[in-house]
């Protein structure tokens, strides 16, 4: 039976002792000349030994769960294995100790790496130019839509083109990014089979449309077979087609966003390209565009003329979306991954991810309905909506109680009691079978027992309502509320 480590671990600020870490210049006699008016008195985080810090975080890490712990089929998050060589390469001194404002001549290796990664991402997406600057997928979306905005401003159509169309199955970041870039998101409904309703799509696309954002395969893991028709229609109305690359793992090497007719693409290096997600980030969200939008990309771009340059000469650039050139440590890992996989490796990864997904779908549909067309890509969505099945939430808690990570639940919003399952290529048949057996055992369990799970972890279910009604975002606030 699975048991997670359980410690009643105090907060770090309550672990007080003496500082053992010695700083460079610790004993130097210096005159800092701190202005009296701005001098600080006391901080309030306490001192402690290095070994106390290490023990604390080691214990905390043992109460956590990653891809390296076990199977992690979190839908739309592509939790594939992160090869350890990636981390080794990213930690080389020659990559860690360089400053982005050093002379170009002194950072040719870093620029070459970024250039090669850019070229490889161009091949994978079919786009004509790529920027590595956006720091996450959602920032990629914001960058892409800022480019659309700049383009229409340039051609004098921005006053009219204020709408961005998204399917109702889209990731929440799509409409949120559209709003941030100053557009109105227009949602269109899906068909019974989970694909975009082409009639509704055509009704929605007008001369007010700036862009249509879609992920393909979509969030139900279904390939939108009408994509070419939709692209042609959107283009005929003067709108751009935006590719949300969160689901690229389902088609990589089999087709490209360019072939499907997309004009703008963002990728999630922390999904498709195996960089670790770090409990929420860092990621990186490169953006690729077609020739027509190249001159609007963020500055600088990496160019090569016998030497690598940080080229700031981008005629209509939108400027910058981040302080420097992207999350370089993440870029190094993705560069390593792509070079090691090569084209054959990427194809095999995609094929295996899709085979795994269809295998699990076939097993899952014996237990509950799996809506949408039968053939899936990298993920699928099961629905525990009827027939006295347990709630998606209860199945999820039963899974984590047994040492398997739960799927994404209650998303996409168009499927009731949704369990969105993405095994990725990093799963054995044994692991997938165990997942299915665990879901099966949840279905067999009586509801009263199920609702009490998890029981093998540090805590049981959280009282979410109270946590948000009475927010305690920091220890300061928590302490002051306890006093009252």
């Amino acid at each position: 039976m699975y048991h997670q480590a359980v410690y009643d671990e105090p907060l770090i600020m309550n672990l007080k002792g003496r500082r053992t870490l010695k700083l460079p210049g610790e004993d130097e006699k210096l005159d800092p000349r701190i202005p009296e008016s701005m001098a600080r008195k006391g901080i309030g985080i306490g001192d402690r030994e290095e070994f106390t810090v290490i023990r604390h975080f080691t214990r905390l890490s043992q109460m956590n769960f990653g891809v390296d712990t076990d199977f992690y089929p979190l839908g739309s998050c592509t939790m594939k294995y992160n090869p350890k060589i990636n981390d080794e390469i990213a930690s080389l001194e020659g990559f860690r100790y360089i400053h982005p404002y050093q002379d170009e001549n002194d950072v040719q290796g870093a620029l070459k790496l970024m250039y090669e990664l850019t070229e490889n991402l161009k091949k994978i997406t079919g786009m004509d130019a790529v920027t590595l600057q956006p720091l996450a997928g959602a920032q990629g979306e914001f960058t892409g839509l800022s480019i659309v905005r700049a383009y229409f401003q340039d051609v004098g159509e921005l006053d009219r083109r204020r709408e961005v169309i998204v399917p109702d199955s889209a990731h929440g970041s799509n409409p949120a990014s559209a709003a941030m870039a100053g557009f109105t998101a227009v949602e269109i409904p899906s068909n019974e089979d989970g694909t975009v309703n082409i009639e509704k799509f055509k009704e929605a696309v007008t001369d007010r449309t700036a862009a249509f954002m879609i992920t393909n395969p979509n969030t139900l893991g279904i390939f939108e077979h009408n994509i070419v028709e939709m692209a042609e229609y959107a283009h005929s109305k003067g709108a751009f087609l935006y590719y949300d690359g969160a689901n690229l793992n389902g088609i990589m090497t089999k087709t490209t966003p360019a072939k499907m007719g997309f004009d703008i693409v963002h990728l999630n290096l922390h999904k498709t390209f195996s960089t670790p997600h770090g409990g929420g980030g860092p990621g990186d969200g490169p953006v690729g565009v077609v020739e027509r939008l190249k001159d609007y990309l963020p500055t600088p771009l990496i160019t090569y003329d016998g030497k690598y340059h940080l080229n700031c000469n981008i005629p209509k650039t939108i400027g910058k979306v981040a302080s420097f050139y992207g999350n370089f440590g993440v870029l190094v890992r993705a560069w390593t991954y792509i070079k090691m996989m090569g084209e054959d490796g990427l194809r095999e990864a995609c094929e295996r991810a899709v085979a795994n997904s269809n295998y699990m779908k076939k097993k899952m549909e014996k237990l509950m309905p799996v809506p949408g067309k039968s053939l899936k890509k990298h993920e699928f969505v099961a629905s525990s909506h009827n027939d006295g099945l347990p709630k998606a939430m209860d199945i999820a808690k039963h899974l984590i109680n047994n040492g398997v990570h739960a799927p994404t639940i209650y998303f996409p919003l168009i499927v009731p009691e949704a369990l969105m399952i993405e095994p990725t290529e990093s799963a054995t048949k044994r692991e997938m079978d165990k997942f299915i057996e665990t879901v099966e055992s949840a279905i067999k369990l009586d509801h009263a027992t199920l609702e009490k799970e998890p029981t093998n972890l540090k805590i049981t279910r959280i009282n979410d309502v109270d946590a948000s009604r009475n927010p305690r975002p920091t220890y300061r606030v928590q302490r002051s509320k306890e006093k009252i």
């Binding site: 290095e50 043992q62 769960f65 990559f95 982005p100 720091l135 949120a176 050139y325 959280i462």
Partner: protein, 443 residues
């Protein structure tokens, strides 16, 4: 074909996995992308070493280059902590019961950062200091319903470019205020330029020239309760400098990179974002809060998620989803290792060494504009020579003498060089000797 795949395909009733892609129309199928064959670990290692040999690190030179990204000492324990697989390879903690470890760590980051800043609310991270400021300005507009925001005329151009993109969709206009004769926010100009549309103001200390802007103490009083004061800080200075919470800040933004993240050619970084409790429901990004489980046991949870994109979609406060969580933990580890005494001492070392280099510069008679103003670990240096000449001397000495300010900052005289010089605890006596030699040749 391995046995697992064979079994899986058998179950699916197919022999070639390519059949699983029959739903992609033939007309848009690709035969090859033109990527090269894959490499082994040993090959990629050699390839990477070729690339690193084409880089010269700051460890191989005498570097006084900062300007928003600093060459600070990174304790070994930090790399160890953020390499723990259970942290490194986890996703956003959507299943809190199995993710209490990272959630406690992120709550601790928020809590320790809150003490350092003396602010009640800290989120679990944004991308970098530029995007934190962009979000802060959007939030100020959101709170006040007003459409004009004051920023310093002298701040990083990169940061200005980012925030102008961040506010474009919201209709907020940015208006610049100048520095006074001491290189600090011009309070008279600010007072005269407040109007009924002003949502708030951004003031940083230290600012672009490294100056500790003493005028920040008066900003909140001047702009009044109804407007938002956004303070920009360098967190590594806050062991010795007054925290923004004691100066009336409504929102605080900063770059967490100095706290043990290293250089990494500019990323990953850590966007710090803090505010007062009354604005907790307006905060962009994820917040981990103290909570209880159904048995009343203390726990940690993602709180106020209805602010976020996965719930609120178009009406979300921000589109952010992936953030820089692991970097929050790195900076938490840094703050934990240094503690109160270390944070005080690291501030003193940075300031003391910077003063030392300023004293040396004075010996050589070069000009230090704003010389009477207090600085943290950077200062402005003016040399009466051309950039080509200065760069040539520096190159021979393996020295990066600082960041060269160009015409984008209003320095267009080709016969002089204006440098922002950064000194940290990593600069050695040899670095100082190299700088002495440099000044001897250019002064």
């Amino acid at each position: 074909m391995d046995n697992d795949l064979f079994e899986i395909l058998k179950e699916l009733g197919i022999s070639d996995p390519d059949e699983l892609f029959d739903d992609i129309p033939q007309s848009i199928r690709t035969s090859t992308l033109g990527l090269p064959r894959g490499m082994t670990e040993d090959e990629i290692r050699k390839e990477a070493l070729k690339l690193t040999s084409m880089n010269r690190t700051v460890n191989q030179m005498h570097s006084f280059l900062g300007f928003g990204l600093y060459n600070h000492y990174v304790p070994a324990a930090i790399g160890n902590i953020i390499s723990r697989n259970e942290f490194l390879t986890s996703y956003t903690p959507y299943q809190p019961e199995i993710s209490q470890g990272i959630m406690q760590a992120l709550f601790e980051y928020q809590s320790v950062m809150a003490e350092l800043l003396q602010m009640d609310v800290v989120n679990s991270s944004l991308y970098d200091s530029s995007t934190s400021l962009g979000e802060a300005i959007r939030m100020a507009g959101n709170i006040t319903g007003k459409k004009e925001f004051l920023i310093p005329a002298r701040m990083y151009e990169t940061k200005k470019m980012v925030i102008s993109n961040y506010v474009k969709g919201s209709g907020i206009r940015l208006k610049e205020y100048p520095f006074d004769g001491r290189g600090m926010a011009d309070l008279l100009f600010i007072r005269d330029n407040l109007n009924e549309n002003t949502a708030g103001i951004y003031v940083e200390y230290p600012n672009m020239f490294g100056i500790i802007d003493e005028n920040v103490r008066k900003v909140k009083e001047i702009i009044g309760q109804e407007r938002i004061f956004v303070a920009g800080v360098n967190p590594i200075s806050l062991g010795v400098l007054s925290p923004p919470g004691s100066l009336g800040a409504d929102i605080v933004v900063g770059e967490g990179q100095a706290l043990g993240l290293g250089l990494n050619f500019g990323g990953p970084l850590l966007g710090i974002f803090a505010t007062r409790m009354e604005y907790v429901r307006k905060v962009p990004g994820r917040i981990i809060g103290a909570a209880e489980d159904e048995n009343g046991k203390p726990a940690f949870a993602m709180i106020l998620q209805t602010r976020e994109q996965h719930i609120r979609r178009e009406k979300a406060i921000s589109n952010i989803t992936s953030n820089e969580a692991l970097m929050s933990i790195a900076s938490l580890a840094y703050l934990s290792l240094l503690g109160d005494s270390g944070m005080k001492r690291i501030g003193e070392i940075n300031m003391g060494r910077t003063q030392k280099l300023m004293d040396i510069s004075r010996e050589f008679g070069v000009k230090l504009p704003y010389a009477g103003s207090p600085v943290f670990n950077e200062f402005l240096l003016n040399i009466n020579c051309s950039r080509t000449f200065v760069a040539g001397i520096a190159k021979k000495l393996d020295l990066i003498p600082g960041y060269y300010l160009g015409k984008e900052y209003g320095f267009s005289n080709r016969n002089e060089v204006n440098l922002v010089v950064n000194v940290t605890e990593r600069n050695t006596d040899e670095d100082f000797d190299a700088y002495r030699e440099f000044l001897g040749k250019v002064s």
